[in-house]
Amino acid sequence: MSDRRASATAPPAQAPRGRNVLAVAAAVALVAAVLVAALAPWLPLPDPDTVDTPNRLRPPLSPGHALGTDEFGRDLLARLVWGARVSLLAGVATAAAAMVVGVMLGVIGGFYTGWIETIVMRLTDILMAFPYILLAIAIVGGLGPGLRNAMIAIAIVGFPIYSRLVRGVVLSLREHEFVEAARALGAGDAIILGRHILPHLLSPVIVAFSLDVGVKILATAGLSFLGLGTQPPTADWGSMLATGRQFVVLSPHVALLPGLAIFVVVLALNLLGDAVRDFLDPRVG
């Protein structure tokens, strides 16, 4: 694995300058989104849930409502900012949960052969073979709609990506001389896994995670869009998009703005994920 170390510290192979600028812009946009979401209670915004029916469906740049209002006269900017808290947190939390479970199962499935490996990997195969949205709908159907259950469903559907990835790496690491050497020195499984295998998993898992948060944000928004995630009146980008769809003829901004927010954040995450991959794993381009 020494070649991997060397290439990881070397400057990224021919990463075009334009991509770095894009990555920095993406990082700035993400930090801004996280800051705004975190500081939402202290920002000078109207209450996101206050209904004001005489002022319903106001266009953007209306007095007092920079981005206009929705079908109940609620301020769209405030709802977008509060919705960012839900969407960003859901994306990071579900990706993290999927990662922890997936890495654990992948390490077990790759390190131990025999029936443990068979069970872990067949479980992974079955989950991967199911169309993910169907499985998520089935899980939410069983647990009941709501943000927490939607997040559990997305994390369950998402862990096989990590277990497949990690198992592949562990399978090849297991045969390396340094593992054999550690074993010859009397190291047990725990030490080999913790000290010799896990550090090598760090960069592929970080790359996968940074690209996965965006996918998870899209998935939570999708479930909310179908009415299976966040329940009203809580603002969330997916459910805002779903209700705004009914007014798309007269007031397209109600549906277009939350979608634009999802798009920009996921695009920034993908750009940043690509930059992380260029840095940590220059062989893949």
């Binding site: 159907g141 009941g144 998009l241 549906a255 999802i262 996921v266 750009l271």
Partner: protein, 278 residues
């Protein structure tokens, strides 16, 4: 080959049984009591209990499953509590439109994606290649349910070029052109994400195969550029592409997943004669 096919089809049986158990359990786990839904909130406790017994909901779960499977195998999926009609005709009535839409989207994304990917690999770092890279990034970041709304606002509401909903125009419609116009926006929306994935994958595998020795040999032998790119490059690059198209088809359809997997495996053998199924 024939034995392999028979074996795979036999393997479908346990998979389908497993899927049917999962579906049955999900139906059972989902919240809400059918008796309460059918009788409404005014029903007495005795009425509810009688209806539950009538519908067989008081039997043990495995017995309920066998009953249900028995009905399903005879093509009886039960009656919709919502529409008060048998479920199967309701599902089948929508199957034609579903297949038409997903099939069109799949053809669009495969043909478009492969063509774009081959062109990007033939002329790497060209304007087309760069545009397709940007499009891939956008495609991966855009929620498809939002893209649908955006396309509808632009092409149906603002420009008025295409219809926003329905399968045929209510008056004077019904021809293939009418159908195609109605298909355009939803099929494009569904295809948008897959076309970019397939294009990028085709590009990277094509670049790899076009760098191989046998491609240089073919060029040295005087094979024309089209033959080199398509016969020697594309056919050898198709294996990962077929995999991804199969996965996309599964996502688009949800149904018939196992059959699609089988089809993909058979295509592998056609593409690469070294792959043998015994």
């Amino acid at each position: 080959m024939r034995r392999y096919l028979a074996g795979r089809l036999l393997l479908l049986v346990p998979v389908l049984v497993g899927v049917s158990i999962v579906i049955f359990l999900v139906l059972h786990l989902s919240p809400g009591d059918p008796a309460e839904i059918m009788l409404g909130s005014q029903a007495t406790r005795e009425d509810l209990a009688r209806l539950r017994a009538d519908m067989g909901l008081t039997e043990p779960l495995p017995v309920q499953y066998v009953h249900w499977l028995h009905h399903v195998l005879r093509g009886d999926l039960g009656r919709s509590l919502w529409m008060k009609r048998p479920v199967l005709p309701e599902v089948l009535g929508r199957l034609r439109a579903t297949l038409l839409l997903t099939g069109t989207a799949l053809v669009l994304s495969t043909v478009g994606g492969v063509a774009l990917g081959v062109a990007s690999a033939r002329w790497p770092r060209s304007l087309l290649d760069r545009l397709s890279a940007v499009a891939a990034l956008f495609g991966a970041s855009m929620p498809s349910f939002w893209l649908g709304i955006v396309l509808m606002v632009i092409f149906a509401l603002r420009l008025g070029w295409l219809p926003a909903s329905g399968m045929f125009a209510p008056y004077g419609g019904g021809g293939p052109l009418d159908l195609a116009l109605h298909l355009a926006l939803p099929a494009l929306t569904l295809a948008a994400a897959s076309v970019t994935i397939i294009a990028r994958l085709t590009r990277s595998t094509m670049l790899e195969t076009l760098g191989q020795d046998y491609v240089r040999t073919a060029r040295a032998k005087g094979v024309g550029e089209g033959g080199v790119v398509l016969r020697h490059g594309l056919k050898n690059a198709l294996i990962p592409i077929v995999t991804v198209v199969g996965v996309q088809a599964g996502y688009l359809l949800g149904l018939a997943f196992a059959l699609i997997n089988l089809g993909v495996d058979l295509l592998y053998a056609w593409l690469d004669p070294r792959i043998r199924y015994e």
